[in-house]
């Protein structure tokens, strides 16, 4: 019997039995019986028709399915009737499972996922030598060519960092695209297949092409051109250079660096055009470094990251070979420092490998995400416990019905099955919502975790681990909130309740059941306390970093980012000081502006590492000479609110024709001179004899220029007027809210130079807080979790206490009749709540303290502040729990004793 013929077969069976009956009757009538009597006798002979039908259908082999459908139908009807419970359960499950899926998705993408290429375990980053200033692992183009030629059978790929570029498309507004310059063997070496068109080949690396080849990321191609196929062959303009799209990378390939998905890949040879801003390090001034000439033949500019595909068995041999080949480059790199210890250390370094996913992202996010995963697990647990408790209360309310059904012969298994099916439906609906929610949550979490200027991009396709986690959580929740309560209840309670209504009403929960639900509630309290405490701590940490003294006037400064990388500025540097002066004067004339100034560093991601040597001091170590640099105009320190400690700041009298001067920060001064006065010291970029190019004229206070959560860097400031260069930031200090000045500043700049492109105008506070991704993520998510558990806890207390109060209605009625006060009755229930709260808060405090200790490096706060958080969280919890149980307590206390006694 096929299930889809079920209904027809069922009708046919009924008809068959019907015809049997008719024939039996007519037989009897023929034999002379009275028709009515014949019918009765035949019916009796036939027996219990529905039972026969059931037994017969059982032989078809699908009766279980029919029963299941019946049970599902029944479950739907029941759920529709219990709307509040259904909504609570579905929402709890959706949030509980969804939060876990969302966070796990992020955890998986950041920490666990491999590149979607064949044999990802063979791919490694190659660390040859740390560069002199940035301590990055980049090498020069000639060195790369030598290494690649030395092992022709090992794919060795090079990538570089280039700043985002402007992409112009015909008849459309230009968009900003992120880039990754790559060597010609990049896609081949990684094993990436094209989704359309072709990927790079050796010819694409040719210098001086009229139209450069570009490969697009799949989603970017789809978003921009409609589809991968449509993108191929398109002509585009990037930073003013002509490109043709030769292909689109595989759908799942988002680049080789976690979180950073380039929109466009192009050949390394594009560096020679000078149209794109590359990241670099070098041997430093005085070592034949010509940044404005092509870099492909300069061994002293380090700009290429290396990735190789080496089978593990051959790794040691290949690395040793590369060490040999790289020896000359390593010796060259020692020239960057006079420090003999650093030279020796550099010569001792050997080439090493690092896994592809071992990067800054992973380092930064492993602990926060693990922690969030734990918090998500807690909220799931709280939700499940809460539902288990509600479920027990619900079952108790149904005790009579279930008892009667069992007395009528319903099997225990069938009853448990019906209860479980009801919950399975809930779980299924909840899980569906959870998957949708988890997906949305991932997007939101990624946005929260991202830095302001570089949003993360991850592959969010549903994958096996996520699906397994989702299914696992579904089963766990089903077990937790449905199967256990149902089994416990059916075993313990029902048989005794199968009596009269009066007896049922009088029956009290068994002590074990009550204890069970108390323990569930207490556990919830503990976990809620943990979540609330962590939420408070993370919020405090975020607030701390958002308000910490950064040594600058963070609330009143506006940063304007002009784009001056155009020939009319870069080729006429001598005109820049005059332009800067006019900009400053025009801006300072605006009402509400205190001061304005230009600078080369545009914000927290400047990271201009440098080294300065002091005249007459050959004893300085590398650790002392390294610091950060910026070139700024007059009024810079006043504009940022950095106070002058000694000497003077730059003025308009510092020009190209006067003595080169420098201002250093307290930290750099202490590093170089200890407590001695730095004013009047001579410094230079190189050791003697070139170590007296600049005269230190001032010392300023430290400022956290790299972001509020990083220490103030040792800074040396030079005058931008004495070494004119395009400014990357124009800063304006306002007397009030800086954002209100945006428009007038934009207009003023337009009046000074109508062709000056402006990329963005942001308040400095936004810029500084833009790097607080982890803190943001933790604070916001923990806050959501904490409020959710609080809500769940309130619902839990309300549900359990209501059901208990209604069960004890008669008892309360008698107590009231015997002279108990209403207050007394209320205290009975509130007292019970208080005991549960206390039993939960104590372990919760221990749990919180342990968690705070585990997360201590993510938290900013003293022990007293943290204990304050614990206490505050406990009070909030106790308040929520009490309020939630006060409602049923009042209801019980104000019930009419006569009413309850009459029903006895």
């Amino acid at each position: 019997m096929k299930p889809w013929r079920w209904d027809r077969a069922k009708e046919s069976l009924s008809e068959e039995l019907e015809s049997h009956l008719k024939m039996a009757i007519s037989d009897r009538v023929v034999r002379g019986e009275d028709p009515a009597q014949a019918r009765t006798a035949a019916l009796r002979e036939l027996g219990n028709v529905p039972l026969i039908e059931d037994v017969t259908r059982d032989h078809w082999g699908w009766l279980w399915l029919e029963n299941l459908l019946h049970d599902i139908h029944h479950a739907f009807r029941r759920l529709r009737r219990a709307r509040a419970f259904t909504a609570t359960a579905v929402l709890t499950l959706a949030f509980g499972i969804g939060a876990n899926l969302g966070v796990f998705q992020l955890l998986y993408s950041v920490i666990l996922a491999d590149l979607p290429v064949p044999h990802p375990e063979e791919l490694v980053r190659i660390h040859v030598a740390p560069t002199p200033f940035d301590q990055s692992w980049t090498i020069s183009y000639p060195a790369y060519q030598r290494l690649r030629a030395a092992t022709p059978d090992i794919p060795l790929m090079a990538t570089a960092y280039a700043q985002d570029a402007t992409l112009d498309l015909p008849n459309r507004a230009s968009i900003v695209a992120s880039l990754e310059p790559v060597s010609d063997n990049y896609f081949r070496g990684l094993g990436v297949a094209p989704a359309a068109g072709r990927l790079f080949v050796q010819a694409d690396e040719r210098m001086g092409q009229d139209e450069w080849p570009a490969v697009l990321r799949y989603d970017f191609a789809r978003k921009t051109f409609g589809s991968a196929q449509q993108a191929v062959g398109r002509h585009i303009v990037l930073n003013g250079r002509a490109f043709v799209v030769i292909g689109v990378a595989h759908r799942r390939f988002l680049g080789d660096k976690t979180g950073r998905a380039p929109d466009i890949w192009f050949p390394l040879a594009l560096q020679s055009t000078g149209a794109f801003a590359f990241s670099w390090d070098s041997l430093g001034p005085g070592h034949d470094v010509a940044l404005d000439k092509p870099w492909y033949n300069q061994p002293t500019i380090f700009w290429l990251d290396l990735t190789a595909r080496i089978p593990p068995a051959r790794r040691a041999a290949v690395l040793a070979h590369w060490d040999q080949v790289f020896r000359n480059d390593r010796e060259l790199m020692t020239e960057a420092t006079p420090d003999p210890a650093v030279k020796a250390a550099l010569l001792r370094t050997t080439t090493t490998v690092a896994p592809l996913n071992e990067n800054g992202m992973r380092k930064r996010f492993t602990t926060p995400l693990t922690l969030l995963m734990a918090l998500s697990a807690s909220i799931f647990l709280v939700g499940s416990l809460n539902l288990a408790n509600l479920q027990l209360a619900r079952l108790n309310a149904r005790a009579h019905e279930l008892g009667v059904r069992m007395a009528l012969g319903a099997s225990r298994a069938r009853l448990v099955r019906q209860l479980v099916i009801e919950d399975a439906l809930l779980v299924a609906v909840g899980a569906l919502c959870a998957f949708a929610l988890g997906r949305a949550a991932s997007d939101i979490l990624i946005r929260w975790a991202s830095n302001r200027n570089s949003p993360f991009t991850f592959d969010l396709h549903l994958n096996l681990p996520i699906a397994i986690l989702g299914a696992g959580l579904m089963l766990l929740s089903l077990l937790c909130f449905s199967i256990f309560p149902a089994v416990i209840f059916i075993r313990a309670g029902v048989s005794r309740t199968a009596g009269s209504g009066a007896k049922v009403a009088g029956i009290s929960q068994t002590a074990r059941q009550r204890l069970g639900s108390n323990v569930l509630l207490s556990t919830q309290v503990s976990l809620s306390l943990l979540l609330s405490t962590m939420s408070a701590c993370f919020a405090a940490t975020l607030v701390h970093w958002e308000t910490v003294d950064v040594g600058m006037d963070r609330e009143h400064v506006l940063i304007v980012r002009p784009d001056m990388h155009e020939p009319r500025y870069t080729d006429h540097r001598d005109t820049l000081p005059l332009l800067y002066n006019r900009i400053q004067e025009r801006l300072q004339a605006l009402p509400g502006v205190r001061s304005a100034s230009v600078g080369m560093c545009s914000g927290i991601h400047c990271g201009w590492n440098t080294a300065i040597y002091v005249h007459g001091r050959s004893d300085l170590t590398n650790g002392q000479v390294h610091g950060q640099e910026d070139h700024v105009g007059p009024g810079f320190f006043d504009t940022l609110g950095i106070s002058l400690l000694r000497g003077r700041v730059f003025s308009s009298s510092d020009t190209d024709s006067t003595q080169r001067v420098a201002v250093i920060s307290r930290a750099y001064a202490r590093q170089l001179f200890g407590d001695a006065d730095p004013i009047g010291q001579w410094i230079g970029y190189e050791p003697a004899p070139n170590d007296h190019k600049f005269l230190i004229v001032g010392e300023v206070a430290d400022a956290r220029l790299n972001g509020p959560e990083r220490d103030a860097p040792p800074m040396v400031y030079m005058s931008i007027d004495q070494n004119p260069a395009p400014a990357n930031a124009i800063r304006v200090r306002a007397t009030g809210d800086p954002t209100r000045l945006s428009e007038s500043v934009r207009q003023a700049l337009h009046q000074v130079d109508s062709t000056l492109p402006i990329d963005e105008i942001v308040p400095m506070a936004t810029d500084l807080n833009g790097d607080l991704g982890t803190e943001n993520l933790l604070a916001r998510l923990a806050a959501i979790y904490a409020s959710l558990t609080l809500l769940l806890l309130a619902i839990g207390f309300y549900g359990v206490m209501s059901s208990r109060a209604s069960r004890r209605k008669n008892e309360f009625g008698i107590r009231l009749a015997l002279g108990a006060t209403r207050r007394h009755i209320q205290m009975l229930i509130v007292g019970q709540t208080a005991r549960i709260l206390l039993a939960g808060i104590l372990p919760g405090v221990i749990l919180s303290v342990l968690a705070m200790r585990a997360a201590s490096h993510l938290l900013y706060g003293t022990a007293s502040a943290n204990s304050l958080a614990v206490i505050a969280a406990s009070i909030v919890l106790a308040f929520a729990g009490s309020v939630a149980s006060l409602i049923p307590a009042r209801r019980a206390a104000f019930a009419d004793p006569l009413e309850t006694l009459r029903s006895e």
Binding site: S12, E16, S19, M23, A24, H59
Partner: protein
């Protein structure tokens, strides 16, 4: 209501024999359920009575095992009824069942009346 005297001497069918009886009844011609019950009752001299509650589950079981097939037809008295018909597979099964049954009867007979044996 008084018990029908006919039912007083009925014998519980041996397990597994009902299938054989049904198949045997169907050997000559296709029949509907009521007729099968009548045939078994009449041929056994009203000793064997097939309960409806056993007959129909058995018929549907036999049909599922493809020993019989069924068809809706109209009886002589213009009554729609479901007719069961023996299949080739059912015929084989009947032969096998019959053999086993004879064996069983012989064996039981030998045990119960050993003196009859030579």
């Amino acid at each position: 209501m008084a018990e029908d005297p006919k039912y007083q001497n009925r014998i519980e069918l041996l397990q597994g024999t009902l299938d054989m009886l049904i198949l045997q009844s169907l050997q000559r011609e296709p029949m509907h359920g009521y007729a099968i019950a009548q045939v078994i009752r009449n041929r056994s001299g009203e000793v064997l009575t097939v309960e409806t509650g056993s007959l129909y589950p058995a018929l549907h079981r036999l049909e599922r095992q493809k020993w019989v097939k069924s068809e809706w037809k109209v009886t002589e008295s213009k009554q729609r009824a479901k007719y069961y018909q023996l299949t080739a597979l059912g015929k084989k099964q009947l032969t096998a069942d019959h053999q086993r049954w004879l064996q069983l009867v012989r064996a039981i007979g030998a045990v119960m009346e050993p003196e009859v044996q030579p």
